[in-house]
Amino acid sequence: MTPRPSTRRSVLRAGASLAAVSAFAALPGCDRMVGIVPGVDDGLPDRVDLPGIAGVESAFHLLSRAAYGARPGDVDRVRRMGRAAWIDEQLHPETIDDRACDWRVADCESMEDEPLDLRSVEPEVVDRDLTRHHLIRAVHSKRRIHEVMVGFWCDHFSMQTAKKGCREAKPWDDREVVRAHALGRFRDLVGASARSPAMLRYLDNAENRRERPADRPNENYARELLELHTLGVHGGYTQNDVMEAARCLTGFTVEDRAGLEHVFDRGRFAFRKDWHDDGAKVVLGTTVPASGGEADLDRLLDIVCGAPATARHLATKLCRRFVADPPPATVVESTAKVFTDTGGDLRAVVRHILTSDEFETCVGCKTKRPFEFIVSSIRAVGGVCRAGPEELRYLERLGHVPFHYPTPDGYPEEPEPWMGTLLWRWNFAVALTTNRLGETQVDLLDLAKRAGLDAKAASPADLAPFCFGRPATAEERAAIDAYAARAEGSAADRRAEGVALLLCAPAFQVA
């Protein structure tokens, strides 16, 4: 499990001075402060090389898919380390010092809280903390593959915080389910999700009970567990399997009883024996014996997680996310085999995908969804993301606010539904590069200098390698230079909007 980030609150618990810590948070330029904590720095390197000579270079491609895009300097680092070593490092996020990013999200205090505590917090505050935390970590965390996997699991175990009882429990779910197991074992991840108050509420298992023989179990979670989380819709289960799984799941709920004896458990996962159907069940042909009680949950999860259909379903989804949509059959097959052979070891599975031949050859065939576009834009120009109301508004306009998708299948992966969002992407790109995104800051002159360019004389098109992993084509350069040569506005604004054009270009919408 990833160590708990040291946040403002935990620093306070450790006895640091309230006044000194508050001063960091209050200063608009507090990212500069990051540098004064020894070993904690996430600024750009002094010198960054422009990536790519011809074609999108392999390190850039890897970062596009497995790191939400490259920040200036990242390609140099992967090249220096070697791809394999970078992947190895990233697959062990617990070994990566991420305190700089922890500082950036320290004011998202809901993320530290228990479900019960958050019941009394304004819903808007919890939602804001959830979104800011997700966005800032996606931009700034040094645990790149981990963050990308967090995004993947947030779709796989999608939930909408607007559902009653879900919002207050989502921060716990984010910590103890998604982040804790993002690169662990799939079975542990599903086990944690099945015990997550947020999931129990979102898919109604909190209401799933059989107190009297006439009670019909609530099948909602059982169905989605089989259809979405494990086997997949064509995973070979029957309606009867869903009903039997629902019987196994009766009584796994969220403690909500009044009374002193429950006071410390309220809002937490609970097994209520009096709600549990303790008869024998048969799921996918395997018997769950009678009188199993609380053990029924793990018996059920062992059966569904261990089924070959689950390996295939997860391999397909991961390859669709990382390689291509639809993914080549060869890589799905080999990934499913690794999944089965390693007992669902997600590290091994992700390593296999990222080092596959298919990954290497499928360059530029994925379309970025809006969240990926926003994160990779800020990263490409070396921006500092504050995730204020402006960015959140863009996520809303682009229809891609984390934890807002209404149905449990998660935001669509395919590109077509997102093609109506280009206008807002263009506006975002212009707002970002002209520094009109609240406190989010971009310093293009500084970036050009670090890249060894004559900042004032250079064309915005010279920064194309940071966005595309290759120099601008003649056509791209012509379009941008023609814009740069026009008269309206200041030279700096025109340069900035020239860089925005790079972020608007088709080459930046694909990865």
């Binding site: 935001y411 280009l422 814009y483 088709p506 080459a507």
Partner: protein
């Protein structure tokens, strides 16, 4: 379908009092339950003041008089005793249920309009627009839907002020063709640029463009009319019209809201002109209000309400309903007008008749729609 069609959904927030908007004047129980708020006997001549007689049972509130020509033209139909099975009588629950296309028996997450757009697999540059600060629940889950307060927001906001040059550069960056992912983006971008062009033309003509009515609702409908006119591929527009939660002093609060509604809808029909048959407008509300007026001269949350359907495809000039009556034993919980038409039946009939929708399960899962008879 030869010409592109548009659906406009006006959500009357707060629970419009259907028993005032379209009053059952012929029922003695109505007059008994509403000693101060009841409508007067309808006038027979169009010159006199007072409610307008629609048929032997119902009269239209005089502040909706602007709709009378549409009624006479058989372009406006009224559905009475319509609503959902939500029994909480909570605004939040009932609005959500209606926007999700759900019922108590069949809860479903996400918006019905979003599911319809997804099942129709259309992703034009502007297939759905919501007027307001945020996307309504009915469009939740429609990734290409956008919410704007005004069409002016459909632009690239450059800091240099050179939106024209920026658009030209974008056009140069998006030539036809390329590998499939790139080609898709290029096509999407050219659609978006075409949209910007048309909206820009609309902005230029804004001063001379006719306005449905000088109210928020009227201005929003005027912008819908302009989008319809410029063929941007708009399939659905949603607009909120609020202020119907008339617990207190209804006789003061309600007329203004009704007048705005009637005049904006009539003005919308007028400025659509020759395109009016391409647009169908539905006005829905989360519930009607209690039959008996309360002690503060208002009405409380009830059940059955009224919906208006006007424009293309509507067989109008009729109040469509399976009238449950107002006798105490025919009321819901002994208090409220019963719901005899499921709101989903009206929505589905419109989608099927006007937009060729065929897969009801993809839009209203678990619902078996019954014909309402509003669409011809």
């Amino acid at each position: 379908m030869t010409e592109p069609r548009t659906l406009v959904v006006v959500f009357l927030r707060g629970g419009m009092d259907g028993l005032s908007a379209v009053a059952p004047y012929a029922e003695a129980a109505y007059h008994r339950a509403r000693p101060t708020l009841r409508l007067a006997e309808p006038r027979s001549s169009s010159m006199a003041a007072g409610p307008l007689r629609l048929d032997d049972r119902f009269a239209l509130h005089e502040d909706l008089a602007a709709l009378r020509p549409l009624w006479d033209d058989q372009r406006l139909a009224i559905v009475h005793a319509i609503g959902s099975d939500d029994s909480t009588r909570s605004h939040f629950e009932a609005q959500d249920q209606m926007e999700h296309g759900a019922s108590e028996a069949q809860p479903v997450a996400g918006g019905w309009a979003a599911r319809w757009l997804r099942s129709a697999a259309e992703g034009g540059a502007l297939s759905a627009i919501a007027f307001g600060t945020q996307l309504p629940e009915s469009l939740r889950g429609a990734p290409s839907a956008c919410s704007v307060e005004s069409l002016d927001e459909l632009a690239v906001g450059t800091k240099t002020g050179d939106a024209k040059g920026f658009a030209a550069a974008l056009a140069a960056l998006h030539p036809d063709g390329g590998p499939s992912a790139t080609a898709l983006v290029r096509k999407g971008a050219r659609d978006a640029l075409a949209l910007l062009d048309r909206v820009e033309e609309l902005r230029r003509d804004a001063k001379s463009a006719p306005v449905a009515a000088e109210t928020d609702l009227g201005r929003a409908l005027s912008q819908v009319a302009r989008l319809v006119e410029s063929d941007v591929g708009l399939r659905i527009a949603t607009i909120d019209h609020g202020g119907f939660d008339t617990h207190f002093g209804q006789a003061v609060g309600l007329p203004g809201r009704l007048k705005e509604l009637g005049e904006a809808l009539a003005g919308f029909d007028r400025i659509l002109g020759g395109r009016r048959d391409r647009v169908t407008t539905l006005c829905v509300t989360e519930f009607g209000r209690r039959l008996a007026e309360n002690s503060s001269l208002g009405t409380d949350h009830g059940r059955g309400g009224v919906a208006f359907a006007l424009g293309g495809g509507v067989r109008g000039g009729r109040v469509v309903c399976d009238w449950p009556g107002l006798a105490e034993d025919s009321l819901d919980d002994g208090l409220d007008l019963k719901v005899t038409t499921d709101y989903r039946d009206l929505l589905w009939e419109t989608l099927a008749a006007r937009f060729g929708a065929t897969d009801v399960a993809s839009v209203f899962p678990g619902h078996a729609p019954r014909p309402v008879g509003v669409m011809g």
